[in-house]
Symmetry: C2
Subunit: 138 residues, 2 copies
């Protein structure tokens, strides 16, 4: 199978996985965001939107929800009165831990059903997905 076919399948199967997980475990957009904050530390709205590949208004709304949930805090950026700084809260970190455990257990169980899939394969899959999104989307 060509790289091109594989790449196309990657997308379709990724889409299917996301929907399957969303159905049985909940995968709100906020999860991606607190995950980003955990990885990068405090960020502005636009930075978050860029990292998550969504529009700025979408991120504004998503962050507003997270603030309401108490999972992040939003303060004006002291160095730039236009901007804000979104920070992961302790509650948010707890939530992230919970979500990760839920998803982890569930997906790991599915992976375990396939003896031909090793931990290394799983790591490779994550690396591919991560790599595809890194930097240059020219």
């Amino acid at each position: 199978m060509s790289d091109s076919e594989l790449a196309s399948d990657l997308v379709v199967h990724a889409a299917r996985l996301v929907r399957a997980v969303r159905r049985e475990l909940e995968l709100p957009a906020g999860t991606r965001i607190i995950s980003l904050l955990d990885e990068h530390g405090p960020l502005g709205i636009t930075q978050l939107a860029d990292l998550d590949r969504c529009s700025q208004p979408t991120m504004s709304a998503a962050v507003a929800q997270l603030v309401e949930s108490g999972w992040v805090t939003k303060k004006p950026n002291p160095d730039d009165a236009r901007g804000t700084v979104v920070t992961l809260s302790g509650t948010g970190r707890d939530e992230l831990r919970r979500v990760r455990r839920r998803h982890g257990e569930r997906v790991a169980a599915l992976v375990a059903q396939h003896p031909d899939l090793t931990t290394e394969d799983l790591a490779t899959a994550v690396a591919v997905l991560r790599g595809v999104l890194q930097e240059g989307t020219p």
Copy 2:
């Protein structure tokens, strides 16, 4: 990193990829469906819903759209007057080819930016995603 952590990351990154692709290349729900029909041949609404992990009403609506686009045909099932048979049309097959080429080129280009990611890695990633979704979601 544990299997559980990896599995959790798999989901989040998959979600991010799907949204990134949806943004710049279009990834309508119909794509997944014609992809299923291509893989399995003609199917009923409920069968499609099960395979795509969505509800039956969702699939009904999605198929209705596809019929309108001319990418599939819907005929009553001759063996069971309750059911219908959804079949991929020639136009649908063409569209699938187009979509695959678009996605393939785009994602393959991104993969190519990462010399450490081989075709084999890509194949592994697809196998993992496919495996995770296969059969038993008990």
